[in-house]
């Protein structure tokens, strides 16, 4: 009996010691002191912005669980730009003066960013921006600024990337014809600017014929006329430039009028969540920076995918989600390399970025046409196959080969 008591006391003491040591150990790892603050401005009513914000918070949580940055906790403050340039600029002012953030990260739309650039210049804080593709933003930033880092490819870089991609595909699979294109572009600023840029960028490469249409997002949604004109033109490639609200309509109405181009490409900023489930999505080609299938060829992407779903019980839908996640890591690793958040040291450390991102490629910074620090330059050519988005090009991230020609609407 006495022996049993001694054993019990011994076990209890061991447990107490273990628990106590564990707690001490955790306390040792937990970051302490003033947090290092990152300030993001995103359209939170839009799912793209909302998911990017969630992904940023996920990255911050992971980093804090590993001890924070320079022994200090990391914090991200996200503000809503409501897709309005003035609100976006005011949000930056508030982040700089009230919240006193150390680095600006964010945002999304080019139109909003254009209105934010004067405010960014006023505060001149280190900025690492994930969104804004319009070259007008690049022109507004100008060539002399060293504290501005831009991760998203500019529109002309995207255009050059598609050219590189299709040329590579055509070289590898010569039966894939890409000489004559018909471009249906939404009549707003996004579609018109993209179409005009394509005409300019590809004038020595392919023949382009195009016509505008009214996007469902702006009160349209009847694409039959433009599809009939494309059918009459009989191009090698049919490309539509619009929004995700147009995705299903284009497929349904092309089937309706019996239009089956050899290549059917859509280029909206995001795709409707259920699009892949429809048999009409099979072999629809798209452009993007990321697809869930990349998790099959990239460990970082796999980790991001699983961690995001575990944290939020939803799947990441748009590429802004991994971009937001990547941005927090890009900044954090630079702060670690610099050993400080002092501006000059941080800029110098950011220039040395080599971050293996969930989008597949390694993010590095180098000058673009105008700005000093441009990150990603390449887009991806992706195709719906079996309900999933599969990467076709760049070949190093390919998860499937191109399905060509586009199958008839009936054989699905």
């Amino acid at each position: 009996m006495k022996g049993k008591s001694v054993i019990l006391i011994y076990v209890a003491c061991t447990l107490i010691l273990l628990v106590g040591f564990g707690g001490w150990a955790i306390a040792q790892r937990a970051p302490a002191g003033e947090p290092i603050k990152l300030g993001a401005v995103l359209p939170l009513a839009d799912i793209t912005g909302a998911q990017a914000a969630k992904a940023m918070r996920l990255a911050v949580k992971e980093i804090n669980l590993k001890g924070g940055v320079l022994g200090r906790p990391l914090e991200v403050i996200v503000m809503d730009d409501e897709m309005k340039p003035a609100t976006g600029a005011t949000a930056l002012d508030r982040l700089a003066t009230v919240d006193k953030v150390d680095v600006f990260i964010g945002g999304m739309a080019s139109g909003v960013h254009l209105g934010q650039i004067p405010t960014l210049k006023k505060h001149a804080k280190v900025t690492v921006w994930i969104g804004a593709a319009s070259h007008k933003c690049e022109e507004a930033v100008g060539p002399d600024i060293d504290w501005y880092f831009h991760i998203h490819p500019w529109d002309y870089l995207q255009g050059e990337s598609y050219r590189e991609g299709w040329t590579a595909i055509n070289k590898k699979y010569p039966h894939v014809k890409i000489d004559n294109w018909f471009v249906a572009y939404e009549e707003g600023a996004f579609g018109t600017a993209s179409y005009k840029m394509s005409l300019d960028l590809y004038k020595d490469w392919i023949k382009i014929k195009g016509e505008s249409f009214k996007s469902a997002l702006l009160g349209g949604g009847d694409y039959r006329a433009v599809l009939r004109h494309a059918k009459e033109a009989n191009p090698d490639v049919f490309l539509w430039l619009g929004y995700e609200a147009d995705a299903m309509g284009f497929a349904v109405q092309a089937k309706e009028i019996g239009y089956v181009p050899p290549l059917f490409i859509g280029s909206p900023p995001g795709w409707p969540p259920g699009f892949g489930k429809s048999p009409l999505s099979e072999a629809v080609t798209l452009y993007g920076m990321w697809a869930p299938a990349i998790k099959e060829v990239s460990d970082v992407s796999k980790h991001f995918w699983e961690a995001y779903i575990k944290e939020y019980k939803e799947e990441p839908i748009t590429y802004f989600c991994p971009l937001g996640y990547a941005n927090v890591y890009v900044v954090t690793e630079a702060i670690k390399r610099a050993g400080t958040i002092e501006k000059a040291a941080l800029i110098s450390a950011l220039k040395k970025t080599e971050y293996k991102s969930p989008m597949g490629e390694i993010i590095t910074f180098s000058p673009s046409k105008i700005i000093k620090n441009q990150g990603i330059r390449k887009q991806k050519i992706i195709q719906y196959q079996g309900g999933e988005q599969q990467v076709i090009w760049p070949f190093e991230f390919a998860t499937a080969t191109l399905k060509y020609p586009f199958p008839s609407w009936e054989r699905r």
Binding site: D46, S212, L218, R224, A245, G274
Partner: protein
């Protein structure tokens, strides 16, 4: 032989007479639009058959959505700027119903119509009821406020990300020779005709419908003869919202939905109602037909799609101005 000739003469005379009478009737003012449309339709069918087919389908969609608005306008006397947003709400409810039950979206017509009927009742009881007699600007502001609330609610509940449901029959097509066209769009034409006939029978053949017509024409007189006009307003408003709900399900089968999707249909429905004459249900059909065909015709020329909206509103302005001029002259 003579008798036969005589008989043939006797038979042919009334036939010729009837034929001439029909032609003269067709040239009567009342039928001018119909005759023009028929002749135009035949020419279009020969020249650009898809313009006729797609124009009809677009017209059906516009008419089916605009008819309930015209009903509210004609009887309750309210310009409902939340009209399209009720349609958006119905479409989201149908979408959630379809995703949750896995049933065909068309099954949602009954629960969504009932739901929207109740929402219509609540909206009338809670807000519109107190706006009778208020200046039109206040009424407009009220329904505009309801529209914004519905949009923001949808934004918060379902995000701004467009959603759609694919059903195989929505892309059904038929081929005649080398000409392939969609057939599902005729569902909207059928819906418009059904709604029109249903409303016509309801307003002309039922006691409540006749009471509603009387209320719309002269609310004070209707009240004096013992009609409970408040109940009539409640019923008509709720029926209209329920009809928009039913239409929203058909809309969902072919379109993406998002919080702002209804705005343009409010605008177009209001324009059709203005073009047709306030509360004129027959006029809505004609106006939709003219605008649907005009829109498809303009779009059929490559590079001129951007003119479709200009033509749409230009036609409305012309019709309103001509109507106004005629009224002044007479």
């Amino acid at each position: 032989m003579d008798n036969q000739r005589c008989g043939s003469f006797e038979y042919s005379t009334p036939l010729v007479y009837l034929g001439l009478k029909l032609i003269s009737k067709l040239f009567h003012k009342k039928y001018q639009i119909a005759v023009t449309l028929v002749i135009g339709g035949v020419l279009l069918a020969l020249w650009k058959p898809f313009v006729l087919i797609e124009g009809l389908q677009v017209a059906g969609l516009y008419a089916a959505i605009a008819l309930p608005m015209a009903l509210i306008l004609g009887i309750v006397g309210i310009i409902n700027l939340a009209h399209g947003d009720f349609m958006m709400l119905g479409a989201y409810l149908a979408y959630r119903f379809t995703v949750y039950t896995g049933a065909d979206p068309l099954v949602a017509i009954f629960p969504v119509s009932l739901g929207l009927f109740l929402i219509g009742m609540a909206t009338y009881r809670g807000t519109i009821k107190y706006m009778h007699g208020a200046p039109e600007l206040i009424q407009l502001l009220l329904t505009f406020g309801i529209a914004i609330i519905l949009q923001q609610l949808a934004n918060l509940l379902w995000t701004s990300h467009p959603v759609s449901i694919h059903v195989g029959y929505a892309s059904a097509s038929a081929t005649i020779g080398s000409f392939t066209f969609g057939t599902y769009g005729f569902v909207y034409v059928a819906a418009a005709i059904l709604v029109f006939i249903g409303l016509f029978l309801f307003l002309r053949r039922t006691r409540i419908g006749q009471a509603a017509l009387a209320t719309g024409q002269n609310p004070i007189g209707a009240k004096l003869v013992g009609i409970n006009i408040d109940r009539i307003y409640l019923l008509i408003f709720s029926i209209s919202i329920a009809l928009v709900g039913a239409m929203s399900v058909l809309f969902l089968t072919r379109h993406s939905i998002f919080p702002h999707v209804g705005g343009i249909f409010t605008l177009k429905s209001f324009c059709l109602a203005a073009m047709a004459g306030l509360g004129n249900l027959t006029g809505i059909l004609w106006a939709s037909l003219i605008l649907g065909l005009a829109e498809s015709f303009v779009k059929s020329f490559m590079g001129y799609a951007g003119w479709a909206d200009i033509i749409f509103f230009l036609l409305i302005i012309v019709v309103i101005m001509v109507g106004s001029y005629r009224r002044r002259v007479t």
